[in-house]
């Protein structure tokens, strides 16, 4: 009995690592641009399809494809902000929200039109590979995903904390006008930050693919998960996104075990509602 729970707990933590990476992108975009990126789930879906196409049509392993897909998604995000979201929304909260919703409707249906509604998975030895650790069986792709996600999260933190570019991004996040006076162009930084946030999704898509299926609707599954993590951790907080990701991974895994397959997913939505209603600043967030 205890072993089942331990296995579920560890499984949840492993998945939570990738969730943290997805949420880091979202929290970065929120923290810098102060926009709620509703297209986040759909862009993750795009990344997963990119990894799937590379794996199935070109035979590239998702791990080898990771740098390529991450850079590609960075470019997609940068262009999307520069040419669509930034232009369409004119900086109004509701317009930005609706613009990112519009982008997600377009992407979901574009991929439905191209790939059809079937769920797809990559076929390979990797998908079912297991590591035996004591009494526990750990899925190899999940362990790899967890490790790589945390390394990338650390890298992102170092980039934000130590480099001039990271400082510029943080400056714009705090004081766009002050940053402008210092010679930073906020519009460029916005596009850059949006690109980095989406680039995280490129990496996450590659890490998720070996253990998850992909379909054009998969974005709507992840979008609520990502928002729950970000709200739980505190909008804009990096440590919050990592801790929130792990907590939500565990919540999902234990929820599925305790409540069953069909009722299990309710845990995430309930956590989300409860945090928003009771403690909207989240665990690590400063007062808004």
């Amino acid at each position: 009995m205890l072993e089942i729970y331990t296995a579920a707990l560890i499984n949840g933590l492993l998945i939570g690592g990738v969730y943290a990476l997805v949420a880091l992108g979202l929290t970065l975009i929120y923290g810098v641009l102060h926009i709620v990126n509703f297209a986040h789930g759909s862009l993750l879906m795009v990344a997963m399809f990119a990894a799937w196409v590379l794996a199935e049509k070109a035979g590239v392993s998702p791990y080898a494809a990771l740098p390529v897909v991450a850079c590609g998604m960075f470019a997609v995000g940068w262009a999307l902000y520069r040419y669509v979201i930034g232009r369409v929304s004119r900086g109004e909260d509701r317009a930005i929200l609706l613009a990112t919703l519009g982008v997600s409707v377009v992407l979901d249906n574009l991929f439905l039109a191209i790939f059809g509604g079937d769920t797809r998975q990559i076929e390979g030895d990797l998908t079912f590979a297991m590591w035996e650790v004591g009494p526990l069986l750990l899925a190899v792709p999940k362990v790899i995903a967890f490790g790589v996600s945390l390394v990338l999260a650390g890298g992102l933190w170092a980039f934000m904390a130590r480099t001039d570019m990271g400082r510029a991004i943080r400056a714009v996040a705090k004081e766009p006008e002050g940053a402008r006076l210092m010679g930073i162009r906020p519009e460029r930084v916005f596009a850059l930050a949006y690109g980095i946030g989406i680039g995280c999704l490129g990496a996450a898509g590659c890490l998720l693919l070996p253990s998850f299926f992909v379909s054009p609707h998969v974005g709507s599954v992840f979008v609520l998960v990502a928002f729950t993590i970000v709200v739980l951790g505190g909008m804009g907080s990096f440590p919050g996104a990592v801790v929130g990701g792990l907590l939500i991974g565990v919540t999902e895994s234990l929820g599925g075990l305790v409540l069953g397959e069909s009722l299990g997913p309710i845990g995430i939505s309930l956590v989300f509602i409860a945090v928003l209603l009771l403690r909207p600043t989240g665990l690590f967030g400063a007062a808004r």
Binding site: V36, F38, V84, R87, V88, S89, E92, D93, R94, A95, L97, L98, A99, L101, G102, V103, S104, V105, V106, D108, N109, L110, F111, L112, A113, G116, G117, P216, S220, L224, F227, T228, V231, G260, S262, L263, P265, I266, S269, L270, F272, I273, L276, L277, L278, P280
Partner: protein, 314 residues
């Protein structure tokens, strides 16, 4: 004069020769009705909801469960759904607005509520889980099932007229003035003595009650509902799109939006029939509208006539 014209256009489907053309008219009016329901909260109140399906689904399940479990006449389902939808709206509204959620946060919390309802209806025995509820076929006017689509169209038109009547009232009455004050500037409205939480909760409850009646009509027309038909995101997004494209916060916006949506759907389907293509075009239309016509299509009309119209962004 205007009303004669509108009445004339709305009456055309009654003399159309084919049922499939009547069906298109019925679906358009149905979208316009649901868009108008969204508009009451989202347009006039500035409460951008991403989860209005929660009301539609609650209504659909109320009608179906009353009928299949308790043998209640489906017409009774309409007022019952109005009550249930109103209560759900009041509950979500009271909880969210008391906590001070607005803008994007409110949008996300409505989405989460719709998801909670979807998961619950997918797991509970009472709602027959993922199997959904089939409503037994028994065609008669008494049983709210019509062989002729024109009858369904007539029912939907009446609902659309009711919802639009509410919208007109909001542009004229005291309640509407309070709601507009809250939408434009909450602090100023509070300073003038408007109870913000109450006003917004009331708008969401009214909007939800009306949308729930749409769920009953859906059930009686297609005789089957399941968790994703009832509470799926697509329904929420369609309601929002119709109102936003046509013009949120205007009486005619949702009607215009629904006509545009269905014309776009049918025309694009005629060229490229792949599933997904038509909704993708709506998404593009939405982006274009936000970029160039933030007041929606109805806003253009108001500008042409030189009258101030449409809601400014909250």
């Amino acid at each position: 004069m205007k009303w004669v014209l509108v009445g004339g256009v709305a009456a055309v489907p009654f003399v159309l020769p084919s049922q499939s053309m009547v069906n298109i008219a019925m679906l358009t009016a149905f979208s316009a009705f649901l868009g108008q329901c969204w508009n009451i909260a989202g347009g006039f109140g500035g409460l951008t909801s991403f989860g209005h399906a929660v009301f539609f689904g609650s209504g659909a399940y109320t009608g179906a469960i009353l009928q299949t479990r308790y043998g209640v006449n489906p017409w009774v389902g309409l007022p019952a759904a109005f009550l249930v939808g109103g209560l759900v709206g009041a509950g979500i509204g009271a909880a969210s607005f008391r906590a001070g959620l607005r803008g994007s946060y409110f949008a996300l919390v409505t989405l989460a509520f719709a998801e909670v309802f979807r998961v619950l209806s997918n797991s509970l025995e009472f709602t027959q889980g993922g199997l959904g509820i089939a409503i037994p076929l028994k065609v008669s006017a008494w049983n709210f099932q019509f062989a002729d689509r024109r009858a369904t169209y007539a029912v939907v038109l009446v609902l659309l007229a009711v919802a639009s009547g509410v919208a007109v009232w909001l542009t004229k009455g005291r309640m509407g003035a309070r709601l507009a004050a809250v939408r434009e500037n909450e602090d100023a409205a509070a300073a003038l003595g408007v109870d913000i939480v109450r006003t917004k909760t009331w708008a969401l409850a009214l909007s939800g009650g009306l949308a729930a009646m749409g769920g009953v009509v859906y059930g009686q027309t297609y005789l089957y509902i399941d968790p994703s038909i009832g509470f799926g995101t697509e329904r929420s997004v369609e309601m929002l799109l119709v109102a936003m494209i046509g013009g949120a916060g205007t009486v005619w916006g949702p009607v215009l939006g629904a006509v545009v949506l269905h014309v776009v759907a049918d025309v694009s389907r005629a060229f490229i029939a792949t599933p997904g293509f038509a909704p993708m075009v709506y998404g593009v239309v939405l982006l274009v509208i936000i970029a160039v016509l933030p007041q929606g299509l109805a806003g253009v009309w108001a500008q042409v006539r030189g009258t101030p119209g449409g809601a400014r962004d909250a």
